[in-house]
Symmetry: C2
Subunit: 224 residues, 2 copies
């Protein structure tokens, strides 16, 4: 739980990419010179956001360092790739990346490995959206966050930067923001989590939290 390294980014990608330093909330272009784009997260985080109507937004995935996303993986008229925090993002036009893949075995494998992990996490997230109640969804989110980006403090408990605001978390988890806030308060009242400061959360009882989500085992398999 010490900010693991999800696969080093192959060097040719870094060499071919333009580097973008993101500010939180910054939207990354769906097209570059008319082409689809690929974004590789070096640091910080991205999210894919789908807006179907003004009041109906779903955040479909969060991308942590080492992972990547192509704009073609969502209907481009409705979806946006948004930076959730400051960080360094690599951008390539899809034709360039595609050619790299075709000519470079390492990159092809990197792409396949990363997308497989993302797909598997997405499958779990879909189960959460479709079948979990509120507390289970929140617990799942926190457990995943702790496993992906938690850093242990002196007491050995994972401390998580909270990349998403309450409203964004709600849109990720398919919940109402009020309900989400209530549920977080409930977990805090039970002593499972604690707010270090405005946007840092400490998971005080990881095992108890993991026990609240039916996906704990699956997440451990994928990220443990």
């Amino acid at each position: 739980m010490n900010a693991p390294d999800w696969g080093r980014i192959p060097r040719p990608i870094v060499e071919q990419a333009s580097i973008i330093r993101t500010r939180p909330g910054q939207t990354l272009a769906n097209k570059v010179d008319g082409d689809e784009a690929v974004y590789v997260v070096r640091s910080g985080a991205l999210m894919q956001s789908l807006t179907l109507t003004h009041a109906l937004r779903q955040i479909t995935a969060i991308f942590h360092p080492g992972t990547m996303v192509r704009t073609a993986s969502a209907p481009s008229s409705l979806a946006r790739i948004v930076a959730v925090r400051a960080g360094e993002i690599l951008r390539l036009r899809w034709p360039v990346f595609s050619e790299l893949m075709e000519s470079n075995t390492e990159i092809c494998r990197y792409f396949c490995r990363v997308t497989a992990l993302e797909d598997a996490l997405k499958a779990i997230h879909m189960a959460a959206l479709g079948r979990f109640d509120t507390q289970q969804r929140v617990a799942t989110y926190l457990v995943e966050l702790a496993m992906r980006s938690g850093v242990r403090n002196t007491a050995g408990n994972p401390v998580c930067e909270m990349p998403l605001s309450r409203a964004e978390m709600a849109d990720y988890l398919g919940l109402n923001a009020d309900t989400l806030s209530r549920t977080m308060s409930g977990l805090r009242a039970k002593g499972l989590i604690r707010h270090e400061d405005r946007n840092r959360t400490v998971v005080c009882q990881f095992d108890a939290l993991a026990a609240l989500t039916p996906a704990a085992e699956a997440l451990t398999t994928l990220l443990g």
Copy 2:
């Protein structure tokens, strides 16, 4: 809406694959000789099913002819690839497919194109799971089904084979089977759909049905 052809399957894939004739409900192996597998749908349909507890199942995707799925795209201990109807499925071990991709540009592009479409549809499905009410989910499902596999009858209305049972549809849409049945009855009462027979549905008023789902526009973009 006449059973479109979602991308011809590249010949080398067919040549390298073993062909499986599926019966409905048949589970396809997660591993072949210890390797991950790739399944390409030639006819019929597959679904990816994630079972977290005995009473908590989510069907995360449905695969129509021309599309493909690899077993690595879900946590293998909990997920299964299941045939939903009789059909012809191509199976390759992942290392074989991976090598084909690395050595054959056409296959690499085929893989990227197909997975991008699947990802985009999955994003819409996630929005449905997280944000749509019951009627919107059902309408979305029927519209997508009509666009992907509907065949126009003499009156010009799309007729759909229903690949999933009520319980499976419910697990796909994140709904209770009773509620789903009620909603289908509601659409039938309004004259939007009609049951041709046990597992064939006629969409009598496609535009009215499409008007019920916030995802109509997105689906048209992707499948239209």
